[in-house]
Symmetry: C2
Subunit: 353 residues, 2 copies
């Protein structure tokens, strides 16, 4: 039985993407070669990279003032690379602390400059997105995690500031429309909304670069990758290929407007059931902070937990166990999760009631 994958990441991919991705491993578009063994400087891979970049630019409305990079190393590498490329030792960046990933970004940025934590929801176990805070003068940029996989919260309104935002969008990239011009850097590990693990999308405003004094190793300098068109070194060919297939699929679904509508419908279906069904309770404190990507909830009676997990798994729902920091359940319903997948989970919840 094909399972319905509610994992937080690496996460579900569209069935049509998996089918093409599987075929290309044996024979890429009838070339007689596997996608796993073609040169990263071949015409075939040039076309993949070009299409992936064009799709990102088209879907997010990214102009030539930004570089679009396909790197490796995940968001964890971007935690330090953003600060390393933007922040001199005596300069300060503002950070919004909304979960474990924000905390890691803060820790790594401190290797390269000063960090001012503008707001944090840590005291309430990150159960909401802070909305009352003042952004002080003199910051270089403001960093945020747009969606928090562990705690099921998501920014719905962006900070009111003229400073460039630097955003880890790993878990909600391309799930909705965004005002691109507010962002200096957007980065995202592919393995939630974009593709398999092993590739990282970085969108960076070029005029922010080249202003730090430090000496950067080539692989850590965004400018080197912009100049090299993401092939300064051998990039992760297959993860980028599958990302390109997923980008194509997103476009076919009506682009970001289409994804946004679908994601809102899926989230409403599940949150409505959590709020209606006396057996369950959401863990996020305020409705406006609720994530459309990771829906976190617990059994009202903790003793029901194992029984509900067993019922969900029997219906083919995989990966719904909550993170240990929150407990209970987490249904990750990224772009590629079909509406029918959420319907199945809601049906199990109703039957359980």
């Amino acid at each position: 039985m094909k399972k319905i994958n509610f994992s937080a990441g690496p996460a579900i991919l569209p069935a049509s993407v998996l089918k093409q991705a599987s075929a290309a491993v044996e024979n890429l578009d009838g070339s007689g070669l596997s996608i796993l063994e073609i040169s990263h400087r071949s015409d075939a891979f040039d076309a993949v990279l070009l299409e992936a970049e064009q799709l990102v630019r088209e879907l997010l409305n990214v102009g030539d003032d930004y570089g679009v990079l396909f790197l490796s190393g995940g968001a964890s590498s971007q935690f330090f690379m953003t600060a390393m490329n933007l922040l001199n030792p005596e300069e300060t960046a503002g950070y919004l602390d909304t979960g474990s990933w924000s905390a890691k970004a803060i820790k790594e940025a401190k290797h390269f400059g000063k960090v001012n934590v503008i707001a944090s929801s840590k005291e309430s176990n990150y159960n909401h997105i802070p909305r009352e805070y003042t952004i002080p003068e003199g910051l270089k940029y403001v960093h945020l995690t747009s969606n928090n996989t562990i705690f099921g919260t998501q920014f719905k309104e962006w900070p009111e500031t003229d400073l460039p935002l630097v955003a880890d969008m790993s878990s909600d990239i391309l799930s909705r429309r965004i005002p691109l011009e507010k962002f200096g850097i957007i980065y995202a590990g592919a393995q939630k909304n974009l593709g398999p693990a092993g590739a990282t999308l970085v969108i960076v405003r070029k005029d922010l670069l080249g202003k730090v004094q430090r000496n950067l190793p080539s692989m850590l300098d965004y400018r080197v990758h912009i100049d090299g068109g993401s092939t300064f070194n051998t990039p992760p060919v297959y993860p980028i290929y599958v990302m390109m297939l997923t980008l194509r699929w997103i476009k076919e679904q009506g682009g970001l407007e289409g994804m946004e509508k679908l994601n809102e419908r899926k989230a409403k279906l599940l949150y409505d059931e959590i709020d209606r069904n006396p057996k369950f309770r959401g863990t996020v404190a305020d409705e406006q902070s609720r994530s459309l990507m990771n829906v976190t909830f617990v059994c009202t009676d903790e003793a029901d937990t194992d029984a509900f997990l067993a019922a969900a798994e029997a219906a083919g729902c995989d990966g719904i166990t909550g993170h240990r920091s929150v407990g209970g359940f987490r249904a990750s319903i990224y772009n590629s999760m079909p509406y029918e997948g959420v319907e199945t989970l809601v049906r199990v919840m109703r039957e359980f009631e």
Copy 2:
């Protein structure tokens, strides 16, 4: 027609590996999930990582005094990470300069410490491996590129020194037996002898770590990845999976002894033909420097070049164009290249004569 892939990298993989790698993208071992969408913390991926590590340890005879890591970022990231983790600013490392990749390693190491280029074959366009040189006192380590893809040269004897060797083995890893105890760090991008692009094998002697004063970002600190069992962050799941399949295949071929015999037979077949056939000439200056992995040669009469290329391609031989720094042809005959593939190329050379 299935082509015979002589590309320098990303490169050929065993047909049986590609078949399993393709099937797992649709359904991993009957789990109902794709290898592209499983969690990197799932039991299924734990088993993949464990088997990959055990195979590396078994094949190369690696003891517990070494960490075995599966990272991303390629050898290009290791150029600076090795120096960043081993070398204080006032300390000096020795580098053997045998080609473009050595030169890049030298450039990146200089960000973190002093570099003494002990020997170089640059003056003769890197057409041999230097053998007459003295290793000065007081170095922290000696770095070398064990095989030079562009120039078709390879170390057959290792430097005589008690210093730890740090080796970029991207293009001949697991192609032959090596005296592991001589090495402090071995690193290799997967995409030549180990698997697809996107994963990097690093084998590091633990007692060398923790001796630099600098503050390392987590993702750049080998100790963090050793402690995290290569899952400090989300690793490149699929490239590691395919690497594991390739490691299994290498073991099935008789391990390194088996690979060594096969690689010697393949190289002998091709070099013998280059030396015998008046239409061709090898580009490496001395026989002892000739690479068993990348066989570089030119047409004796340059005017024959296009015609021979056309004849080879008509026979299904793909990717034999030489690097622009050397010209002519380069047949990369890594582990996964079957003997019959080399026979086909040799047959074309004979017919061309």
